[in-house]
Symmetry: T
Subunit: 145 residues, 12 copies
């Protein structure tokens, strides 16, 4: 089975409990459970990881190469706009990646329109809420097959 | 059945015949046929439209409101970066819309990173090729239900 | 009688039906009818034209010179901010022109503060709603007499 | 009767005597007299004020609130581009205001294109010379009724 | 006793009467009275001054040096963002100064984020409403002792 | 014979009648006639096209590929500075192209110095008036042979 | 008793030992001890935390919500200018916060004038040295009561 | 005799007493006395004026035209960089003017490099201290003769 | 016969030997020989000059005026983007000039898109290789006749 | 013996295994071993440290001061361009430092040309691959002796 | 006697023959002769130098230090805006210098407003034509005595 | 033996005599002598060249290709920031080059942070004083072997 890694960046651990009227009531555990299930249905083994530590995210991405991961979904959260190191880690492991954002980052503050990550990924899905992850998983597997 | 309109902007009529090594061999007719089929499967009636004329695209979007269209997929092509009028037409009809790009616009020329459209849509899918439309249709229907 | 042309740009055909709480319930047909009436009262023959097509607006402005039009009122809509070609058409026919905007474009999104048109017109009226056209017609005729 | 205040900023006291081929031979006293007359005709009591002192203009605007003034016409002159304090005074008294400029400020030096005032007014009239004040008075009363 | 001068810039005379839901119901007279009282408690003689005139504020600051004032609290209002002359007056008298703003200027319009004053003061307190003055007085006296 | 397409953008239909002291008395028909004649002399079949409609220009360029056109001369007029879609159409058909401007665009308004077109053409000739087209035709045929 | 969290960002652990002529001889332990004491005096229970790890600071802020903390003082150090993730963590927990800087960041290098944090806090105190924390604690409690 | 007006802007009244190691020990009265003397020697009647009030400077410049002043020396102080109104007053009276600065404004803070005044004067002398006024007076009279 | 000067800037002496796959195998001597020949054919006496020294180029242009040169072709090489002095020398001698570039400077590094020279010439030809000089010579003589 | 610390930032742990055609086959362990050997030869004790965690790098630099380290070599990787906190840690410990980059950062993406670190170090060596560390060690010891 | 060097940059050799209606009929030889004479009158030995070669100007400035020159007047012409090397040569010899421009560079093209030279000189005189040199010589000697 | 050329740009001839407290007492002749000696030790023949003339530096670099030079060290001095022509000469001869600066250019004036040269060299060494040349020579020979 294809190994897929899902990486969630800072503050996403609060999903479902923070501003539910904006982000919905689905928690990160719900999202991860649904992704694992959809992965099984589509023939992929999905592992998930969340951290508020930039270094921990980079370490995890490095480890993915060792484990034979063939595709990554990443929601870099606030690091989207500030982390060259995270970008470099994705470029270094050279695993096909899709960037996901829950909200439409292009219609928020000016500083959220720039992404260091988008230059090293296959593509980006944003503004579609939690289902954006599921669409990204379909898209990633579509690209890999 | 839910009425969905798919709008393709300038130069997309050349799909499949232009730089196939980059954009694939699928033509716009193929993409449209597949979207109609997926729409039926998911309970939606999909109409499609392409034009190289900004005004024709705006006219078609205005007409959508009259026809009872409840969701729009739009790949604005080169107008993404230059058309305030197209943006205003989407804002005026106030129909939920998803923006689609075949290529990862964030990893190309600087001027392709800015979109007038992204400020008035639900979200954006880019860099996933022709399947990006299918994911967007799933996402749009997911949002509408 | 002095011939005056009133030119309405993209999306203005929706006036009165779109966001009436913002733009009022007056339709474009109402505005045009009132302008024709005021023109008669002030000794001018007013013709009106609306299109969502940049090229059609330019064609109409070119034709104005042939018809002997001596003054133009233009609400360029979204083309205000993006069309050098429209600007050039006004400069080419060299007919005195006043630019009209229904809303106060200076107090909206950043990109609406720049007008390619304003560099080639006599003046600008904005933020006064539909009556702005009437004031502009008075002002234009005042300038011409 | 509705009380209207007309505020003229720096250097406007020189009107009619300075560069008459550009600004016309009408003096500020002429303009004010005509505005008072038009006000009477339209059912409004018009008071006028000119100063080259930013602080004096702000004091006068504050006083307007006390006097029951219901609308302001302001030509802020050079303060248009530099005075946040004047802007704040208009925002503070919250009296509906129209900004007037004799010349087309958008077609002059770059620095004249930015107005601190335009963000807190109903609208702007420029480039129509002395009659711009009359149009603005009509527009303001139209808005108030 | 240490002499302290409190300087209030344009529009602050309206405090308590303007947008009370935002700025509170405390008037400038209340604020000044409380500062004088706190000064006495902490061993300082507090004088206060408000003007909408940039020149009057500069004159007052110059005079402070003659009077032996040893510390200044200043809320420059709208002059914060536009007055090099006010900045120069503070630099010229070289009296330790703290800048105070009632609202959090960093979270308002873009142009309010720049302060000409902040480069020549000890520090800045903003966003804490009327009590910000009291904290600033404590801070200033702490620095002076 | 080599098929060459000459494309004229918006407002160029007015040539010879508009500001003749600037642009000369030669009309677009004269220019086209001379280009056809020079083409015959140099062994090329020259077709010409003018439109004020961006979409019509794109449609015509697409058609050129079908017709076997091997070289394009384009004067994009005002679309030079604003049309990504026109740029994309030239890139899509991948026919060698030279960009022509009658006036020296580099010595006019700031916004005329940027060209979206120049990034996808062989080269550019500007400032040499109507003969610039003839030089461009020579240059294009020189490049093709 | 009200629970207050004081968060110190990177390099602040060196306080008192690094450049004492600039930052004073007070250590971070001194500052924390004084804040706890002042808190007790004013009826608040103050907890403190320092880390050079962005992720650890975010984790601590998340935990604050669980613990029932009602107010935060934060000196984000170098993260002030670079961390969207830290900003987002404060926005997510939605606990009233005051930003503190020991030095006057507005009068130092250009890059220190921008704060990602200041857009999501009540206010900011800077340039008043170690006593700035005490003023901020007073101000925060004043706001909360 | 030729009438010359010397205008000193804000904070220049402090000359000689403020930072004497930088600006020298000469007071404004000394400078004015020397200019009057040099004027007599060169056949000119020199009047001088200083104010910290922008409006008062503008009033004085307006009055100069009435008095038959034929040349102006102005050191606009901090208004150099912020006052469009002062610029406009010089343009309005159209009296040949030379701008003087004591220090080399081009080698100080970034914001001091921009002058609104320099666009409407004959020339500028800076960085030569108090004697710069004398050189400017010679230069102005040289231009007038 | 009309005297024409051809001026080649820095590094052009290496033509034909440097990156021949890009710039072709034609040497500068070949280009010059061909230009002299074409000049004779068209009734002009062509002199040529190359230098890597900015000053030598300026000296040569000054000398052209003395010699009665009536037209200049210049390829300023790297000085295009950095030399105001070269620009000034062309403006000073006021001889009609055409700017030539072998490559399409608009499609290379960002810094090559700006030309100090283009503001003082008749026009510009770029991207057409060595034949660009021949077209420019034809164009220049066309303009002069 | 002089104590030297070598600090490697994020992603450098992958050296030798990642894009070996670009970065060479030397691993970080090889580089460290060679530096320790060269240090012994030149009379210095070299310790090395790598982390993907910004906070861990800062902690290690703080500890260096306690250990009596007299010189630092740092390759900050992606933190070069984004970390004010790392910059501040180097400034705080005030140990002479040289910045090393394997690749020529000035010839890559625009965002890699800016370094927060370079303002607080002795100098920088870049683009010389793994031997750049050895040259930096020689240079650092040369500076210290 | 004090040795003074006058340095004229590129194109100034054309003075008096180029655009005499703008720059006057005085040649550079006249200016130099007058400066030598004024120097003698004021007790200074004036040497002059002109070159269109940046390197020659730098060589001459270096030589000045060897010769015991104690003051420099420089009109850097077009190098004002482009030569860091010339700036560095003045900084290196550390001889007090005044910058002179014949025209008011601040009221011409945007690129003439920036001077690399002005950051390392005592002051600047511009816009006063040929007499500006004489005023500068007086000013320089005034500074030196 | 490998032929190496060392190129020194403007003002470097003054080394050792200019600001010795900053740049050290080593003269350019010392530096060159040491480089020749180190070259011999490492098996390379080092030639050196200094000029204040941009053109002379370019001529010398062109000549290097003819002489069989295989590596270049260049300290471009002030031309670093202003010379596209020098950059082009290095690109044209395509000889591996290292850029050296005595001081840390990244910690000085803003305009010194940009280098036209760094885009066409192997790497850069800066801030290490005269020994920077020796390290660069070692690095260059290391790269060549």
């Amino acid at each position: 089975m294809l190994k897929i890694l899902v990486v969630h960046g800072p503050n996403l651990n609060l999903l479902g409990t923070r501003e539910p009227e904006v982000y919905g009531r689905e928690t990160l555990a719900d999202i991860d459970r649904n992704l694992v299930a959809l992965g099984l249905e589509l023939g992929a083994e999905v592992a998930t990881f969340q951290s508020n530590h930039e270094g921990a995210l980079i370490d995890r991405i490095h480890q993915a190469r060792v484990e034979g991961v063939v595709g990554i979904l990443i929601n870099p959260g606030g690091f989207t706009h500030t982390s060259v190191a995270l970008r470099d880690s994705l470029a270094a492991v050279a695993i096909p990646t899709i960037e996901v954002h829950l909200s439409n980052v292009h219609a928020r503050e000016e500083f959220r329109r720039h992404s260091y990550i988008s230059g090293v990924v296959l593509g980006q899905i944003c503004g579609l809420g939690a289902q954006g992850y599921q669409l990204a998983l379909r898209g990633l597997l579509g690209k890999l097959n």
